[in-house]
């Protein structure tokens, strides 16, 4: 059990942090991949599939993170977030929209006051995270001031891979402070972390430093989210809750495009951490094109005929 005294002890110095992170058990790579692959073969059909599709829709962070984003595009995205399928009122809303900081105000306005759909903003020099701490803090404060409910920060992978864990830790703490009441999601960018052991260490580091969510990727680096990486992260949040009593959310992002993919993630969550996490408050899917595929599957179930993308919005 890690109580508060023990936690502050771990964080007290670079050396103790390193000792703790390197003391975590290693990840069995073959085992993790085989486990994820085995769970991916689960067949989810009929009513279970219907439930899974609606759950997945309600967990989406509907994302647009392009240099070419415009206020108009963000407004359209917000309309879609509130009412994913205008022809069907029974479709649940998505969890949040995710945009760059300069478009947070636009999104906030489009969603209206007290919207059930949250606004998430990437910050801290997204996607590379290669700016000074002062810039990262200012970036975060601006996003929150503009109305962001959630902040998706990136960690400094250069520092992490060089072993400067203390620096990464302090940065997350500082950004958490700058974010205030906003929920903090910490992007590990697992595609750059090279090993599952690193993913496990980065997950623990982010959780120790106070992140509310750990997120796989920016979506700008391949590979983005994968099932085995998400499995390792889910195990980390499970173990963290056992050790500290605090529950942390998980968000795979990038490369999740089909309903089949999304359902595989839900199976993974259910089998690894149980249904405590099968809730938009604790599990999110960072995606954009996934939503249309889920809507098409939903329509297929409702009408019996295969749906086509011509009948859903372009985004």
């Amino acid at each position: 059990m890690l109580d508060d005294a023990r936690l502050s002890d771990i964080a007290s110095s670079e050396a103790s942090l390193r000792r703790f992170l390197h003391g975590l058990p290693g990840v069995d790579q073959t085992g993790a991949e085989a486990r994820a692959a085995a769970l991916a073969t689960r067949s989810i059909k009929t009513t279970a599939k219907q439930y899974a599709i609606d759950l997945a829709i309600s967990m989406i962070d509907l994302t647009t993170l392009e240099g070419q984003d415009t206020p108009g595009k963000v407004r359209a995205l917000c309309a879609k977030a509130l009412r994913p399928d205008p022809s069907d009122r029974t479709v649940p809303r998505v969890a949040a929209v995710c945009v760059y900081p300069d478009l947070v105000a636009t999104a906030k306005e489009a969603l209206g006051p007290n919207s059930p759909v949250k606004v998430a903003s990437v910050a801290t020099g997204f996607p590379s995270g290669r700016t000074s701490l002062a810039v990262k803090e200012a970036d975060t404060r601006e996003a929150v001031a503009a109305g962001a409910d959630e902040v998706d920060m990136v960690i400094d992978r250069g520092a992490f891979l060089a072993g400067r864990y203390g620096e990464v830790f302090d940065e997350i703490v500082a950004v958490k402070q700058a974010a205030g009441d906003a929920h903090l999601k910490v992007i590990l960018e697992t595609g750059e972390l090279a090993t599952y052991d690193n993913v496990r260490r980065a997950s623990w580091l982010a959780m120790l430093a106070g992140g509310d969510f750990i997120k796989t990727s920016t979506g700008k680096v391949a590979p983005a989210a994968t099932l085995p990486v998400t499995l390792v992260m889910l195990e980390a949040v499970r173990d963290f809750r056992e050790a500290t009593g605090r529950q942390i959310g998980v968000k795979p992002a990038g490369g999740i495009r089909t309903s089949k993919d999304a359902i595989k993630y839900l199976v993974l969550v259910n089998e690894t951490v149980g249904d405590d996490w099968l809730d938009p408050d604790w599990f999110r899917l960072g995606a954009s094109s996934l939503l249309n595929d889920l809507l098409m599957q939903r329509q297929k179930i409702a009408t019996g005929r295969y749906a086509g993308p011509d009948y859903f919005t372009l985004d």
Binding site: G304, R305, Y306, A307, G308, P309, D310, Y311
Partner: protein
Amino acid sequence: MAERLAVKKTYKLYVGGKFPRSESGRSYEVTDAKGGLLANAAWASRKDARDAVVAARKALPGWSGATAYNRGQVLYRVAEVMEGRHAQFVNEVAAGEGLARGKASALVDEAIDRWVWYAGWADKIAQVVGSSNPVAGPYFDFSVPEPTGVVAVLAPQRSSLLGLVSVLAPVIVGGNTAVLLASADRPLPAITLSEVLATSDVPGGVVNILTGTLADTAPILAAHMDVNAVDLTGAAGDAEQARELELAAADNLKRVVRAPEAEPDWIAEPGLERITAYLEIKTVWHPVGV
């Protein structure tokens, strides 16, 4: 010396440029005209049809975006490769349709010639059905044909090669991509044609060939919202089935080529109707003199 063991061919589907088995794992017996076993063909399921539509949709931008000249060259190349498989086609047509070799050979010749004839239209059809239109205003006004999109084709049940070519070639010559359901009882020439297509320069997914029964996949294709047109020729002679397929196709206003009362005589000279059936005319008004 020991007798050599026969190396038997596995007859498979053709989807997205690959030769998968049916997702269902099922197959069915294909017999010759006298009832002797010819092959075990893959029995396509609705999920195979779904996959084929996905492959056809994926191939559409590339194929419809290729220049008409390039499409013509590719299609001509198909005819060249068909010529190399002449003997195999003759065997399959003769066995399946119960014809003498001479008669079957003449049909194969005709089928290859038909393919070449359609290939020639690739870069000519726009001149024939397109136009520049005289309008009363300061506009340069012109109309050009564009492909309809993904076309589901129910191939004729009786004419297994000439009929097949006569319904498939006009679909793809205009820049559409096709999901073709081969004749249920005589699918072998269609399977061989898929091998021809795979070894010509036709991009994977432009033509997808399913084998199996009409009842399994035709209703799925007719109702599919991502299919833009459907050719019901393969349902010729079954008015009730054709009617149901037309009803299913009405949901997304598909182009429908209706099933004839009886399968037509494919030897007859074709017109342009089958090409234009899958073309949409786009008219552009371009301001001039302003």
